[in-house]
Amino acid sequence: MSDEKITPLIMPKWGLSMKEGKLSDWLIEEGTNIAVGDEIMEVETDKIANVVEAADPGLLRRRVATAGETYPVRALLGVLASEDISDADVDAFIEAFEMPVIEDDDDAEAAPLYEFAETSVGRLRYAVRGNEGPVVLLIHGFGGDLDNWLFNIDALATSAKVYALDLPGHGQSTKQLAGADLSGLATAVLAFMDTVGVESAHLVGHSVGGGVAATMAFDAPDRVLSLSLISSAGLGREINSQYIDGFVNSVSRRELKPVLINLFADSKLVSRSLIDDLLKYKRIDGVQGALESLSAALFADGEQKTILTEKISSLDVKTLVVWGAVDEIIPASHAQSLENADVQVIQGAGHMVQMEQASQVNDLIKEHIAG
C-alpha cells in the first residue's frame, strides 16, 4: 500500500470552537476526477453552513461518510486515489485511518479558544493562533466579533502568528467605548497591541474594521506593516443605512433574520445559530448603547461620515483591497477608490466575503503579506 497515492478527505475545522460538523450533502459522485477548488461537499456546523472545496486534486474513489450524519473534525469522509490503486488498498487505508474523537473542553493540552487582555481601555477578548512568521491582526466590523474570521484564522496561522480580537462594545470585550468613532476603536486596538506585546503587525480589517486599520496606519504608521481592507468602511459615502438601523433596532429573531440576509450572497448562510448568537450578544447590558453611539458617529444621516481615501493614498503602506461583487452593505464600487492598492473583487460573494469565499480571501491575504 502506498500512502502517497491515497489522499484522505477529512472533516474541516472551521474556526475556534468547531468540534464536529454535519455532512449535509455530497456534491460529487464516486469516480469523479476533482481539481483543487472544486466544490465537493456541503458541511454544516453549529455556527454556519458552507461548501467545502477540494484542497487536493484526485479521483474520488470512496465516499466513506454518509450525507446527513455528523462527524468529528478531521474524521475521514472520503478517499482520493488514482485508478491504479486497488480496491483492497483503499479498504486497507480506510481501515487503518485513525478516527479522531471529539475533543473535550477540558483537554489540558488544547490551547485555550479565547483569552482576555486587560488593556488600558478595558478587558478585550482575543484569540491567537500560529507561532511562526509575521504577526497578523484581524479586526472585525460593526456588530461583529472575532468569530467573523472562523474560516480565516487557522488558514492564515499556517504561515503567521495571527491575532483576532473583539473590539470594545463587541463580542465578549468590554462594552465601554474608549471613543465612539474610528479613532476611538483604533486607540483600543493599539492598546491591545501594547498589552499582548505586538510592536507592529499586518492589519486585516473587515468593514468598519477596515476603517479602524486604516486609521491606525495614519495615527501610528510605525506599527502597521501592511493593510488588507475587506469590504471596508471609509472608502466612500454610500452605506446600506436600512441594514445598520435594522441591525441596531432588531430585538427578535423574526426582525433580525431579514436584516442579516443582506450580509451574504447566499442567504442560506444565515443559520439559526448565527441569529441566536447575535441576539445573545445584543441582549447584553451596554451593547445597545454602544451600537447606537457607534452608528450615530459612523453612519449618521444614512451615509459614512469618515472618508479615508486621501489619507490612505498619502501613506506609504502596501494595501490590498478585497470586495464581494454583490455586497449589499457597502457597494463594491468603493473597491476602486484607492489608486495604489491591489484591488480584488470576488464574484459570488456579499459583504461577508471572507466567510463566503474564504479560501480565495485567505490566499490573497497570504500572498499580500508574503510579498
Binding site: 479565547y114 482576555f116 477578548r125 465578549q172 462594552k175 430585538v251 427578535s252 429573531r253 423574526r254 439559526r272 441566536d276 445573545k280 441582549r283 447584553i284 447590558d285 451596554g286
Partner: protein
C-alpha cells in the same frame, strides 16, 4: 464571558447582579437567608433548595426571612413595589398560590388598570413548579395555566439556565407583576451562560430546534422532552421544529403561526393538567387563526386530569414523556 452554569446558579447570579446594579431591589421569602432555628451562620440555608445562598452575605438586610405567611409577605412585596421598591418574593412552591392569590390576581394584577395607568407594581414572584421531585400532590403541580389566565400578570417559565438568567433580569426590571416559574427538576441542568448581565425580552419564543415536518410547542421541562422526541424522530426521517414559548404571558403566537404555516402540523406539550391548559390555549389559537394551514388535527400531550401521584412509578407515568410526544407527532404524520 460564557461558561456553563446550572439553572439554579443562573437564578442566583441574576438576583445578585440586579441587587448590585439597583439598590431598590430587595428580596423576601421563607428561609431565603438563614431559616428558623438554623445554627450560627446567618446565611445557612439560602432557600429551601439553596437557590439564594450567598446573597445575604453580599447584600445584607435587603434580603428578609419572613414568617410562614404567604398572604402577608406576598402582600408586603406587592405593597412595597407600589411604593418604589423592586421586590423579589420567593413563594417557594407555586402550589402555595392559594393562600396569597388575592394579593396577586385581585390586587397586583389590577393596579395599573384601576388607577388609570398611573400605578406601577414592579414585583417579581419566584416559585418552583413541576413534578418528578417525589414531592407529592401539594408540591409538584404545574399551575401555570391558572396564573396565565389573569390579565395583568406576566408569566415566565424558562427551560434552561441561559434563559433563566436573562428572563429573571427582565422580570426584575419590568414594571408589572411577573410570576417567574422555576422547574425544580431543571435546577441542576447546565448550559453556557454569559457572565455579563443581559435581559431577554418577554413575548419572544425560542426555536429550540428547526424542522420542516411538524411543530412541537412546549415550555419548561417539556422543551427537553420535546427535543428528545424530535431527535428520536429524526432517525426515522421525521424532522420536527421545537418551539420553546419561554413566556406564557405575553405569548409569542406569531412564531408558532409562522412555524405551523410551514409544517402544517401542531403538537402542544404541557406538563399542566389538560383542561384549560397552555396546550389547549395554543391549539385553539392556531385552529382559529390559521386553520387552513393545518394538514392534520393538532395533538395535545399533557398530564392526565388527576393530582400528581406520590408513587414514583405513577408520577413517572403522569409527566408527559418523549415517547408520548413522538407518538403524537406520528399521529399527525399519518394523515
Amino acid at each position: 464571558m460564557a461558561r456553563t452554569l446550572s439553572f439554579k446558579d443562573a437564578v442566583n447570579e441574576a438576583i445578585d447582579q440586579e441587587m448590585t446594579r439597583d439598590p431598590t431591589v430587595i428580596m423576601m421569602g421563607e428561609d431565603i437567608v438563614g431559616g428558623t432555628g438554623s445554627p450560627g451562620e446567618a446565611d445557612a440555608w439560602g432557600g429551601v433548595l439553596g437557590v439564594t445562598k450567598g446573597l445575604y452575605a453580599k447584600h445584607g438586610d435587603r434580603l428578609m426571612d419572613t414568617p410562614l405567611s404567604e398572604s402577608a409577605y406576598i402582600g408586603a412585596a406587592i405593597g412595597a413595589a407600589t411604593c418604589g421598591l423592586r421586590p423579589i418574593a420567593e413563594l417557594m412552591f407555586l402550589d402555595f398560590l392559594g393562600v396569597c392569590f388575592d394579593q396577586m390576581y385581585n390586587q397586583a394584577a389590577k393596579f395599573r388598570y384601576m388607577f388609570g395607568g398611573k400605578a406601577e407594581t414592579p414585583v417579581t414572584i419566584r416559585a418552583m413548579v413541576g413534578g418528578g421531585f417525589r414531592a407529592a400532590a401539594q408540591h409538584s403541580q404545574m399551575l401555570t395555566p391558572i396564573i396565565t389566565h389573569v390579565p395583568g400578570l406576566k408569566v415566565v417559565c424558562p427551560s434552561n439556565a441561559y434563559d433563566a438568567k436573562g428572563l429573571l433580569i427582565q422580570s426584575i426590571r419590568d414594571n408589572d407583576p411577573v410570576i417567574f416559574c422555576e422547574h425544580k427538576n431543571l435546577y441542576a441542568h447546565e448550559v453556557d451562560v454569559p457572565e455579563e448581565s443581559y435581559a431577554i425580552p418577554f413575548g419572544e419564543a425560542n426555536i429550540a430546534r428547526e424542522g420542516t415536518d411538524a411543530t412541537i410547542v412546549a415550555y419548561g421541562l417539556m422543551v427537553h422532552r420535546a427535543t428528545e422526541a424530535a431527535e428520536n424522530l429524526a432517525k426515522d426521517g421525521i424532522d420536527c421544529e421545537v418551539i420553546d414559548l419561554r413566556t406564557l404571558s405575553p405569548i409569542d403566537m406569531d412564531t408558532v403561526y409562522e412555524s405551523v404555516e410551514s409544517t402544517g402540523r401542531l403538537i402542544c406539550v404541557d406538563e399542566a393538567n389538560p383542561r384549560c391548559s397552555i396546550a389547549s390555549d395554543v391549539t385553539a389559537s392556531v385552529t382559529q387563526e390559521i386553520f387552513s394551514s393545518l394538514k392534520a388535527a393538532p395533538q395535545l400531550v399533557t398530564a392526565p386530569h388527576t393530582p400528581v401521584p406520590f408513587s414514583p412509578v405513577l408520577e413517572d407515568l403522569y409527566i408527559p414523556s418523549a415517547e408520548q410526544v413522538a407518538d403524537a407527532v406520528r399521529k399527525t404524520m399519518a394523515t
